[in-house]
Amino acid sequence: MTGHGWFAGVDAADPSAAGDAVREGSADAPADWPREAVDAGVAPDEAAYYELLREATLAGTRAAVRERERADDQQLIHAVRAMSDLAETANELAERGTEWAGSVFDDVRGGVDGARDVATRDPATPSEERAVSLCRRAADLADERDDIADYVERQGPAVAPNLSALAGPVLAARLIALAGGLGALAKKPSGTLQVLGAEDALFAHLRGHAPSPKHGVIYTHEYVRGTHPEHRGSAARALAGKLTIAARVDHYSGERRPELDEELDERIERIRARDTE
């Protein structure tokens, strides 16, 4: 805490620096800041001070809002991690439940679909009741996963509009989660983003056991998976490049830039148009 006003030691005329001072500063007590500012030569008069103050509070508060809303990237991270857990536990319980159900019912298929089917049956004995109930729990978990996926679809574009547009909200959220946050993702070089989620393969490569991985989780993107294997490396590189730019725009400005989508589309089109040997 200090006895200084927000304008002390900063270029009050630079809204970005002044805004940071407004956001991050503090004082034990208020003072007659307009007079002090004029006395200190920050502004020629109080009217001019208030103009500077206005620019500083607008800039600082806008940045603060953006940052606070960006804390939503942490919510997305919780969401995609929960999705993975739910997919895994739904499968595990569906296997257990359908195995049990198969011992008391005819025609039981495995997996979550099988569990959903069992969940509709009418149990006649305590064993059947428990097997049906267990399958229902497995189906519930799969539903929960889907509900969270819907949440990610809705929230992703607010948190990272460009990344979500280019990667789809779920893949965007996965990348953010793998990096640990949108800010952390924005600071990663494109080559790192390209192999996020392929850490095991990367370590194997670094230990000399394996070729360098060409893609991590971005493999799930149609522009990688749907490209001829021969050009898949190029496609992954191009996609990672644009996603890195999208993450940076999302982090530093938050503005939506539709031209990024077009640039990516064109780039992939050119790659796919290359002759395959």
């Binding site: 001072a21 208020p30 003072a31 307009p34 509070t57």
Partner: protein, 209 residues
Amino acid sequence: MTLPDGVERRDFGDESALATRGEPAYGEPVVDGWRRWDAHRSKLGATLELGVDTGLAGGDSVLYLGAANGTTVSHVADFAGPTYAVEFAPRPVRDLLDVAEARTNLFPLLKDARKPETYAHVVESELDAIVQDVATRGQADVALANRQFLADDGRFVGAVKARSEDVTRDPGDVFEDVLDRLRDGYEVLATERLEPYHEDHLAVVATPK
């Protein structure tokens, strides 16, 4: 007459209502440049509508605590001088920023009104008024913590929401407790229940003691 300069009762076709002059902010009716200030949508509006003498005179320097999306503070900035608007939730502040962009004397701050040290380096001392509308437990504590910004003859104009303190207790009892606590630092000049505009809210006008 208890209305501040710059606040007038104007005719809006079907009925007369309070109004201020300024840039429209939230789709409110405007006649001849006068923006309708609906007492149903604003606790300060209701306080003035009910004839409470707030001590607000027009041209006052104001700290507004709990600015939300800026509905009320847009009117305050229309008739007041430098107006500091503090709000903690980021989403409404997006709207508040738009309201502030259209005004030269409105300074939006994404801050926690319970932590005045985080904006004491921005908000000036010796203010004419604090307007408070925070829907949080400990509304008297917020008023006391921000008392340092007020001039000795400044005014605290608050709307106390009973349900924010304790949903289970009788609002009258809650108001008594809040006023008791408020008297640790303020002299209470006037109180008024805000029915029918706002249920279980008490307008409080006070001055530092």
